[in-house]
């Protein structure tokens, strides 16, 4: 086979970075194509700027948000310090049949630069749920298939966490956890007494609390508790594709990384019955370029991968490559959330902290485990944290002058918050498709989203809100107030599905190796492959499945099957 490269990886973010590392380390010439602008690890232009050296102290002018980033502005992480890491919505339009917030990155490294680093393993039930309750496509794998791959990726990523021995949240290979503070320890004790079976544990986050030799060798160092991660971190204190996998891939000299490369199609060879390569547009010159490889890994992020695959039409595949089942684009999911409760914690006024801890506490799923409810299926978990109020408390309090100033010189009382993330049911009717006529300025057909929360999610949301308030009250908090910010799908940036894995080529897009049922050298290893969504954050599972699929592809190449 005479190809330009052994492997093409589309996308350099969380999933694509990991694919590149795996193939490069195994000696394969790998081309990584990313639509984003180039960004070198360490070249983070706002990293060290205090608010007073920013023209608007970190805020973005209203007219700029309204014209350039009307969608991206919905992310809490978008500020004047970070906006250049988010995509420009004007240049990258999509259509919404129903409201869907599509948060996207603007740089090489993808959203791995922007994530909140929360990292939890899926459990056995997560992979079995579709089969058990009949919603969605049964996963062709189970927890035991992926467990060794969590073992494999976690030490490289570097995840701070505590071993808890919980079936609902399997332990991983951890660095020392971030400490829980005095208030969180008190709430833990009270909660666990009031609700036997529930646990409040340190958040598991991709931060180096104790860097290991393999991290140091890549130039990564200890997390400095700056918690300004989305600007980029030249310590490599948190995991990003730039500080981690891409750095490792680069070391091998087997990687060619091309930025400003918008992949539009996977090319299909009618004769060979294989994917022959991809076509991309250089967004700086507008030139269309074709490049060939033995194997294609799609890692452009859930919706972008689906968009490219739908657009890969040929005589053999008029609905998109590998899509005879026409299931491509269906079963799009995002978590349900932005629901929870907060309150004031009395006491502990003699304790404070140094550092901005980049993660708080986690309360794993407790619903629909032993005793099923009759109002909704599946479950949710909570992220939370306790901190002291800062000077912002003065905004809504009466008081002026020297007295106000003196008061705000000390930290205020403690507050605690729990915010839930719930699993939604996979639903065939939640879909994305290509617009028939509208294109972006590089000629890529625009994606249309048609995704909404179902009744199950709405009922679950009520219970999330109620449970949070109930727990905070039981833990002795004052002024407990529950909230529901009514965030649309997409707003959690955990979009999954669209090219689901399954056993049956008639109803699913990928097999148990993230491999197209119909085009053997085409793999999809980002969130598009997911047949359900669990209630925990997805990114380490994207990486674990990517590493597993790469290992399989390498073995198939070695035995001559690919």
């Amino acid at each position: 086979m005479n190809t330009d490269y052994d492997i093409i990886v589309v996308g350099s973010g969380m999933s694509g970075g990991y694919a590149a590392k795996e193939f490069c380390e195994k000696g394969y010439k790998t081309l990584v194509l990313d639509r984003g602008e180039p960004l070198e690890h360490g070249q983070y232009k706002t990293e060290f700027l205090p608010p007073w050296s920013m023209e608007y102290r970190g805020r973005v002018p209203e007219d700029e948000l309204a014209t350039e980033q009307p969608i991206q502005r919905k992310s809490y992480a978008l500020t004047d310090f970070t906006k250049h890491h988010f995509i420009n919505d004007k240049d990258n339009p999509y259509q919404q049949d129903q409201p869907f917030t599509w948060i996207r990155s603007a740089k090489v490294g993808g959203k791995s630069l922007l994530w909140a680093r929360q990292s939890y393993r899926w459990n056995a039930l997560d992979f079995a749920a579709n089969a058990q309750d009949g919603h969605g496509i049964d996963w062709p794998i189970r927890y035991n298939d992926i467990a060794p791959w969590y073992d494999y990726v976690e030490p490289f990523i570097g995840i701070a966490g505590s071993e808890e021995g919980l079936e609902v949240l399997p332990d991983g290979k951890f660095l020392p956890p971030l400490p829980m503070n005095t208030v969180e320890r008190e709430i833990k004790a009270k909660l666990e007494r009031a609700f036997p079976g529930r646990k409040l544990i340190p958040a598991r986050v991709a931060h180096l609390t104790q860097p290991q030799p393999e991290h140091l060798a890549l130039g990564r160092g200890m997390c400095m508790a700056r918690n300004e991660c989305q600007r980029g971190c030249s310590w490599g204190g948190y995991y990003s594709s730039l500080s981690g996998a891409l750095a490792a891939a680069k070391k091998t000299n087997n990687m060619t990384l091309r930025a400003n490369a918008q992949v539009q199609q996977v090319l299909y060879g009618e004769q060979s019955g294989r994917a022959t390569g991809v076509a991309y547009v250089d967004t700086k010159t507008g030139k269309r370029i074709e490049v060939s490889a033995r194997i294609i890994f799609m890692c452009a992020s859930t919706l972008a991968s689906v968009q490219i695959l739908l657009n890969s039409r040929s005589a053999a595949f008029p609905n998109g490559i590998g899509n005879r089942s026409t299931v491509l684009g269906h079963y799009i999911m995002d978590h349900v959330g932005a629901v929870g409760a907060r309150g004031d914690v009395p006491g502990h006024l003699d304790m404070y902290y140094k550092g901005r801890r980049p993660g708080g506490v986690y309360l794993p799923r407790f619903r629909n485990l032993e005793t099923p409810r009759n109002d909704y299926l599946r479950g949710f978990g909570f992220q939370g944290s306790a901190e002291r109020r800062d000077w912002r408390r003065g905004i809504n309090q009466q008081g002026i002058g020297a007295e106000l100033k003196q008061q705000l010189r000390s930290p205020g009382g403690w507050k605690f918050i729990l915010a839930g993330y719930g699993e939604v049911l996979p639903d065939y009717n939640n879909k994305v498709y290509l617009h028939e006529t509208l294109k972006d300025k590089w000629g890529m057909p625009q994606l249309v989203t048609d995704v909404a929360y179902g009744e199950n999610a709405i009922k679950m949301k009520k219970d999330i809100q109620h449970s949070a308030a109930e727990m905070l009250t039981a833990a002795g908090l004052n002024n407990v107030e529950s909230f529901d910010y009514n965030v649309s799908p997409g707003g959690f940036v955990h979009e999954m599905g669209g090219a689901c894995m399954g056993k049956d080529p008639k109803t699913s897009y990928l097999n148990q190796w993230n491999q197209s049922h119909e085009v053997s050298n085409l793999f999809v290893t980002d969130g598009a492959a997911f047949s359900s969504i669990s209630c925990v954050n997805p990114s380490i599972t994207f990486m674990a499945l990517t590493a597993r699929a790469a290992d399989y592809a390498v073995k198939q190449m070695k035995t001559g099957n690919l």
Binding site: F48, P50, P51, W52, E55, Y56, R57, G58, R59, P61, E62, D63, R73, Y76, L178, P179, N181, T182, T209, M222, C223, M224, A225, R226, A338, L349, D350, M351, Y352, Y353, K354, G355, R356, R357, P358, Q383, S385, R388, D390, W391, R392, G394, I395, N396, Q397, Q398, G399, I400, G401, A402, L404, K405, Q406, L408, R409, S410, P411, I417, A419, Y485
Partner: protein
Amino acid sequence: MQVLNRRQLLIQGGLLLGVSLTPLSKLALAAIEDSQSGSGHTFLSGSLKTTLAIITDIIIPATDTPGAVAAGVPDFIEQMLSRCVHSMEAQEWLAEFRKFQLESGFNALSKEQQLAAVKSLDEQLGQVPFYSTIKELTLVGYYTSEIGGSVELQHDPVPGPYNEIPLKNIARAWS
């Protein structure tokens, strides 16, 4: 743990609520004309600038550390209102602010009277939208300035690992 954006804060603060548009927008137009004839900044006229400066320095005065005016808060507020909020909201704010200034004759009041006027606004916090905005932006502007963020409070750019500490080990809160 979504941080409220400006627009949401303004909505919560009631700037968009209970404001009747017609009479106010006339005042707003007048204020804009006024501001165009004024010197320096484009958003507020000279006399409104003076009122704003006096109010911010009453909210955060100079004590053993410099106050709001020394920290550049009035300029910051003008900048926020002219660039970082919806122009309609900014104009409604301007109209209310101007109305307050005209009706109270603020700049001509004695120091004690000015203090009393701001005290009375503060006692109605939450019910007087233009003042809620001033108070919020005064605090934001002050504590994100170099003086507020690193002299009045402590700036900690590279804390090292997170640690619990007794409060008594620390002279001032982190900014």
